[in-house]
Symmetry: C2
Subunit: 211 residues, 2 copies
DNA sequence: GTCTATAAGTTGATAGAC
DNA sequence: GTCTATCAACTTATAGAC
């Protein structure tokens, strides 16, 4: 559980060439993310990861000081990836976009991150609940930062009602994340999913008591 | 992975006394469900379960032929418990209850099963995604039977649209299940949760294109 | 950077006494 | 029904050669 940050290069910096050969730590993290996503945290051993990376278990320790450090790196990148994607998409909207248009965009991007863009985000969602307290805690700062984006977006749906907002933020994120457990992008259309899910949630969030 | 069914008593049948001393297999399953729910599937060893039951690991094998069998028994009971609770609650409604009133009742009962009634149901939801394919498959019949209840309830919200129904069923169940990851019944009011979540989902499901 | 060798601990499971 | 003794397999991790 050291503070080692694998994104800080230990040796030579990456060539300015392009993204052709992924840096070794990145390659290892890619493999780890995919396996964690598919089989859960405890079920994936360092041996499994090393084998797919074409190396022996102890070689991993050259790149990551422990399994915990590797997991934490994967988990944090998982949130960072969605957060950046959502932030960029929101920034690309016209400045006068309506609150519900922003919300719909955020939902679409979040679903795409979950089902297509990144094994890191889906791995994060899948295994967060399986981690020992200590590792979960290490991911909380990233998670809180991401939730703040949604708190901003959702505050328009329940102005001046913090209690309602405190429920709506995790509820909406949770409902989107849950699609990971039943939707298969190889067998269904992601856009159809986003349309359907977006419709129910947006309509539900738009509803006012007075009507 | 034998077909042994622990509910079939191996020795003397339970005394007609009452539910005072839980049958040993039930006690073991109670402990297993609570631990699986809290720490995940792979992280809970038979030793952990045996210790809490006040026995040694090999003694468990008198009651369950393997860890897989124990897990399957817990998983199946987890769905059976909610299904019975929801079925009973629906049967208690007046026969002419409106579709959305039925839906609201089902949501309330499902949330209560998840957060209060049963460690089995919450354990099921938490660890299903962590199980190896084989064990997941063993739980599918129960799951499908439960989903049928929801398909019935939700078909009223999108008549003659099976594609929409096929998305709404897992979406609604998934959104409710996801509350397990963020709502703590010790720190929040379960009725408030049901009110808020029910309001958003019901309003969203009620929404028609024409409006 | 990657390897072999190895340590130290855990796991699910079986045999057989009581 | 529960125990002790034991097993083979696996885990994370370290030491040190190349």
């Amino acid at each position: 559980m050291s503070a080692a940050d694998p994104s800080v290069k230990l040796s030579a910096p990456r060539k300015t060439k392009g993204a052709l050969p992924a840096a070794r730590p990145d390659q290892i993290m890619d493999i780890a993310a995919r396996q964690f996503r598919a089989r859960g945290y405890a079920a994936v051993s360092l041996r499994d990861i090393a084998t797919e990376a074409g190396m022996r278990t102890p070689s991993l320790y050259y790149h990551f000081p422990s399994k915990d450090d590797l997991v934490i790196a994967v988990m944090n990148r998982g949130i960072a990836v969605v957060r950046e994607a959502v932030t960029e998409a929101l920034a690309a909207l016209p400045p006068d976009a309506e609150p519900f248009a922003k919300l719909e965009t955020a939902m679409r991007v979040h679903l795409r991150a979950l089902h297509g863009l990144s094994d890191y985000t889906s791995a994060n969602v899948r295994i967060f609940g399986q981690l020992p307290e200590e590792l979960r805690r290490a991911n909380l700062p990233e998670r809180r930062a991401y939730q703040e984006i949604w708190a901003d977006l959702l505050s328009a749906t329940c102005p001046d009602n913090l209690e309602m907002l405190a429920i709506r933020v995790p509820f909406v994120i949770g409902a989107l994340n849950a699609t990971l457990e039943w939707f298969d992008p190889d067998r269904g259309d992601l856009d159809v999913l986003a349309d359907q899910v977006g419709r129910v949630l947006l309509a539900g969030l738009k509803e006012r008591e007075d009507r």
